[in-house]
Symmetry: C2
Subunit: 659 residues, 2 copies
């Protein structure tokens, strides 16, 4: 294709996209049912029905909403630093963001997956992927804290992640941007892509307590793996990954990776892969990746660097990976609650192919192949196909399920959600969305047991939906009632960051899972804990000064400290002695160039402070804690380097005036 | 007081506080009127009535809500870095967070004030204070961007800020934690507080385009200045500051600063102060403080360090400052719409004193003084008093006004809002809040023209109001309808950070103020702009590599770059060529240890990247921009230091394979 043609093709695509995304819709409020207000209203003091966990996209964090009110309960820091809570700034949390590339304070968080037991959401943990520096995190739903992060070697653009198997045996990760493997010479021309670039699929084992470990990686051809979902029920033991750029282009992908009519969904027999690993077929390969864990007893993270992974080669082991042709750059890859149907959504397609697990198995057994792609058998399209949803819309992206035999697919280009029957493939209903939806979410909607009452659609374009806020606008979500035959729009609401995938679960499942309300002070094993005010102290070792400080309404102990010198490194280890829910204290000191601390009841947290100026530095509680919160403050005196002001600390009794 | 007594006194206060804050309320949903759901519901596609600007507290940012739906429109980064947008990480925005103490990535943002003309909210700018590193910021409401930040020397704990005069002549700042002045020897014992510690009040001049400059500071006694409000109408020309710790304690303030029955409100005649400045009475004092400004033409901030301020001495100039006794540690200091009444809220008091501006003037004229406090005349309490609201509740904190002669005061300890008549001082209504309110907000509620339809109360304790989220909970707000005689609770909603003060304005005032939707590419004067794809290039100067890159749906130009070497500093200057609203692009590269960029249409933004590994680093668009967004990516090849791989860049045409 000439450059001119490329440009024209690109332009045509932009035009189609722009037309659909900018055409002014009819007044959508007309489409809202009269009782929508009552349906989304949760009266003060009443609880919502569902927790909704929403990826933050470029914020790197996770938002927790309540449904149907769409109230934002909290934002949980995962992959980006959070100066508001001190996450990534306190000495205890810094190791959580360590990687093989050093400390990384930001990432792009796209997908979330709740842990499952027997294919049903179980409310224990939620997993999150990081795209830019490939990682998977586990958030503990007893504490709503990031408990573990594991880095993924040999990968770039970890997009088809963190989807899980039906008993949370594995959480997976694929490579969106193929690169030379970590232990190869990566200093190669970019246009040697086809020869040197590879994609790796990681299968991360999840233990009984949630602990993660890379069980094995599968080396796959250098293409772009996009999304994935595990088989379930009858298809348990298989995983399905969509991939695009099977053209293996390395530049101007919008044109060069849009050449083929069909790319692939790769079906992976992970139980077979497990057998090969047991049989010693895994190749131990050098790799460097961080594994970071949070200890709830010491309230401290540690980061370990691991040095190898086991790799299986998809070309050599002919019966673990199969390619299924899928129209035009497939994006979403979704498996219905029975495990029989696999839905591929080609983002440039005008139909939706639905594949049958039974047919795939038969096709494999009967070797109904159309040759190989880079050494991997390609199943004949028709042999794997249950059928196609005809004329559903333009640009299907993602599909969720209601557990009543219906599928709901978002269409970015034609800006709508379409409901269709999984078996008959008939379109049952369609609803416009404002504008250009990406992911959607039905509580349990990718599990064996969906709770098909609500559907949330996460739109990519906001424009005029809300009062304007300058050039930058929040992304917009829409809540639908899907309990009846027709989808009913209930509510529009802006969101945090850019929501991609989301998960939701009945509130009681999480609310009653043993929510931690505060840390018991007697179980606090932080090495710098101060378990009572009398034990508070300030200790110097060379130029390191450790302040063992306590906080309780409404004072710090000590609150007057003298004898700090320029050149010192001061560590404030603040233990919050409160033993009740929702009595955090904060700690900030003037001149700090990092963050504050928010310290939950019973917790110890550490702020490092390097004073830069001689003089008096006030510190104070940053979280309004009592009627006398404004009085919760203190002073540190900083003297010049070499000063002989003695190290003293006190509370309530004035220090002796030394000059 | 013996240490034992201190402990007992403290304990008693905690008990009172704990009792009121933890007593289980009756089911508050019973108190909600039947049509509350309809009243807060804003149908999809419809706009809210008010913008509500809410301080972020320990988040350092500002949240923008829409009322009555309580939907969060956006979070605006001001005083803390924002890895989500690149604020504080991009080369252009880094100077915004520079201070005399270097780069400070976090602060504690408590109060907001909309600009006013003739005492009415005018929708041009909103000002924000930083507590920990004393600063004032101005956010431009055409762009919703932080446009300017000025640091305040001689201060610590900048709390009574950023309140303004009725034509936005000045924005003020006080000192909460008195410290030795910056140019004094600060290496003094903390218990020399009374002798060496001072509080400064800053009067920052605001120019026609919003530009800020410290006109003068007033040196005041070493106490804790807490809150403030300008006079208006008849009292225009005066400013009122509450202060506590007039005991001048420096340790265990919860006891030692709660000894006196009355502290003070300080009345400042700033017009008189202006006269003294004109007359050359200001003393030019050395000081070091940063002044940071954002240029909308270059999309770039610059930071300048200033070196002096003019200081007036409140002890010497006897007719600019007067102390008005105010019961028990006054916190809120609020002036009614007429300017006649000044409400002081003693946070340990069980009554509310209301002072009369006319009486204050008469008392000053008649010298009805009770001696002096640290050289400042103290007006007799009764001479200044309009009257007291009797038995209103326990622990009054803040008051706002509805423009119909009514005041609304929050009570932290008794957890309620009380409506009372400003003239008669009669309590008219009371409503429980859940739990323990701090600030409250009525649109225009501290201006001459309140819009008294809604009231939002920001509570300090959340506990069981929403589905639990582990030990850490969001702070909770409550929306009331105050259009009738009785306050009606409409809605509870969690918030971002810790809201302290908030402001609100009719939506049209801001929506129709010339909202900027995108930057015109022809007006982009960023020194590293690339105004068309053909101008994109990569330039090496020594080990500095500048990438002049463009982004447009759906590719970067260039998207293949080779010849980068370990040891290089690479600057990606990304210009978003889009010229339509809400088409941002993002930019992230693997191995970055700072953030991503979000680039608004027509804008140029720069990410610094120091590659640490030899190999191929993918980059991609982080903001879903089109059906082919997933294809919007590229590669950088990093070679070892000293490599002779030539510097090349391309789009669509494969680079020559050089080996």
């Amino acid at each position: 294709m000439s450059k001119n043609k490329l440009v024209k093709a690109t332009f045509a695509i932009i035009l189609v996209s722009a037309f659909f995304s900018s055409c002014k819709p009819k007044d959508s409020s007309d489409a809202v049912s009269g009782d929508a207000a009552q349906k989304v209203y949760v009266a003060p003091g009443k609880y919502d029905e569902f927790y909704n966990f929403v990826s933050g996209g470029f914020s790197g964090q996770m938002s927790v909403y309540a449904l149907p009110s769409a109230r934002l309960l909290r934002v949980i820091p995962i992959f980006s630093v959070d100066p508001q809570s001190g996450y990534g700034y306190s000495e205890e949390t810094k190791p959580m963001l360590n990687t093989s590339n050093g400390f990384v304070p930001w990432d792009d968080q796209h997908h979330l997956e709740l842990s499952q037991t027997k294919g049903e959401v179980d409310g224990r943990w939620i997993f999150a992927n990081a795209n830019n520096t490939p990682r998977i995190a586990r958030v503990d739903l007893k504490t709503f804290k990031t408990a573990e992060i594991i880095e993924l070697p040999n990968s770039a653009g970890n997009h088809s992640s963190p989807f899980i198997t039906e008993n949370t045996e594995y959480v997976v990760a694929g490579t969106r941007f193929s690169v030379p493997p970590d232990n190869a010479n990566g200093d190669v021309p970019i246009n040697t892509y086809k020869k040197n670039f590879k994609a790796y699929l990681s299968f991360v084992k999840v233990g009984a307590k949630g602990e993660m470990d890379i069980a094995f990686q599968i080396e796959a051809p250098g293409v772009n793996f996009d999304l994935s979902h595990a088989g379930k029920g009858k298809s348990h033991g298989w995983f399905f990954f969509s991939c695009y750029n099977t053209e293996q282009a390395n530049t101007l992908l919008e044109v060069n990776a849009s050449q083929k009519d069909k790319d692939f969904i790769m079906a992976v027999n992970w139980k077979k892969a497990e057998e090969y690993i047991k049989a010693g077929k895994g190749k131990k390969v050098a790799a460097k990746y961080a594994h970071n864990t949070w200890d709830e007893k010491t309230h401290t993270a540690k980061s370990e660097i691991r040095t190898s992974v086991l790799v299986l080669d998809s070309k050599e082991l002919k019966d673990i990976c199969y390619m299924i042709p899928c129209p035009k750059s497939p994006h979403g890859c979704d498996v219905d609650p029975t495990g029989e149907y696999i839905v591929g959504s080609g983002k440039l397609a005008a139909l939706i192919p639905v594949f049958s697990f039974d047919k795939i198995q038969k096709a494999i057994a009967a070797k109904q192949f159309d040759g190989e792609y880079e050494g991997i058998p390609v199943i004949k399209y028709e042999a794997a196909l249950h059928g196609e949803v005809k004329k559903p819309g333009l640009g299907p992206l993602h599909t969720e399920f209601d557990g009543r035999g219906n599928a709901y697919t978002t269409f970015f280009v034609s800006s709508e959600v379409v409901k269709w029957d999984i078996k008959t493939l008939k379109v049952l209903d369609r609803a416009p969305t404002y504008y250009s939806p990406g992911h959607l979410c039905i509580p349990g909607g990718d599990s064996r047991k969906p709770f098909g009452k609500y559907m949330i659609v996460y739109n990519k374009i906001t424009k005029d939906r809300y009062l304007p806020t300058g050039p930058e606008l929040a992304q917009s979500a829409q809540l639908f009632d899907i309990s009846g035959d027709k989808m009913k729009l209930l509510l529009d609401y802006p969101t945090i960051g850019e929501p991609h995938y989301a998960q939701a679960a009945p509130a009681d499942l999480i609310r009653n899972n043993g929510q931690l309300k505060f840390y018991k002070i007697e179980e606090n094993n932080n090495p710098f804990v101060t378990k009572g005010e009398k034990e508070s102290k300030v200790v110097r070792q060379g130029n390191r000064v450790d302040v063992y400080m306590t906080s309780i309404r409404s004072h710090f102990a000590p609150d007057n400290i003298e004898g700090i010198r320029l050149g010192d490194e001061v560590y404030f280890h603040v233990t919050n002695l409160e033993q009740d829910w929702d009595v955090p204290h904060g700690f900030a000191i003037k001149g700090a160039d990092n963050a504050e601390l928010l310290i939950m009841p019973g917790e110890t947290t550490t702020l490092k402070w390097i004073p830069k100026k001689v003089g008096i530095s006030p510190f104070y509680c940053t979280d309004f804690c009592s009627a006398l919160h404004q009085e919760m403050s203190g002073y540190v005196r900083v003297s010049p380097a070499g000063s002989n002001v003695p190290l003293t600390f006190s509370l309530g009794t004035n220090l002796p005036a030394t000059k």
